[in-house]
């Protein structure tokens, strides 16, 4: 077993966070992170990126009343 380099680790982050790595590789990633502040920061920043994306304020994306009424009408009498 060889140690991972940082430039290899950064390409495994997504699979690591998804739990999609095989057991052996996952252990190598975890071992590397224990000893590497740079990669630990990188993974934290990817996590932060994900939470920032997930906390996007709801944009103005509601259906207009008009569109909503039209769709409900179409639901009542679907086009044949």
């Amino acid at each position: 077993m060889t140690d991972l380099n940082c430039d290899q680790l950064v390409e495994l982050v997504t699979d690591y966070l998804d739990g999609a790595l095989d057991e052996e590789t996952e252990r190598r990633v975890a071992d590397h992170l224990v000893g590497c502040d740079g990669c630990t920061t990188y993974v934290q920043q990817i996590r932060r990126t994900i939470t920032t994306l997930g906390s996007a304020p709801p944009a103005d994306v509601e259906l207009s009343d008009e569109a909503r009424d039209a769709l409900l009408a179409a639901f009542r009498e679907p086009p044949r």
Partner: protein, 222 residues
Amino acid sequence: MRDQAELPTDAELVDRLRNRDEDAFALVLDAWSGGMARVARSIVSTHASADEVVQDAWLAVVQGIGRFEGRSSLKTWVYRILVNTAKRRAMREGRQVSWSPVAGEDDSPTVDPARFGGPDDRFPGHWLAFPAPWPSPEQDMLAGEVQAHVEVALAELPDRQRVVITLRDVEGYSADEVSSILQISAANQRVLLHRARALVRGKLEEYFVASAATDVGTEARP
């Protein structure tokens, strides 16, 4: 996932929709249209056409509910119709959403290789300088500005990457659900998500580094 908790089970919803229960239709319409509009906006060119895509997708759902076989969740099925409607619309607008892999998309590095030691450096493949820590969200007085930078970064992503990261990280779908909605392989989904996240992180890094430099400049003045 947003709003999902308040809805009846899929089995009940599908049953009620097939029996033309208008209250059930209003429930899903109100719960899902916002998220659908965000996803549509990641595929078509304008907000107005995204809104039309959402409406067209719902019309297709109304007509097609009898054909829903329950092999995926109802929401996944609705989103698949949405994505297909949006792709057709994008094509009509002359905007090609290419779903086949782009050259270099699978294996080129997502972090600038210049940030790691080369073969002659003391630690080949290791950070030459660690990524600078970011201010914690609590310290960060400009959350709105961070969000604005994320929006810009999303807009700049290649189309397929933007759709995948919107579904995964903005809308909160699982990897399996995103593969199913977009009808792409699990491996392809991961590659697109990985590249998209690395690019958005890179944009945030640029922003934080630039604002840290400004802060230092301010403090240095008498």
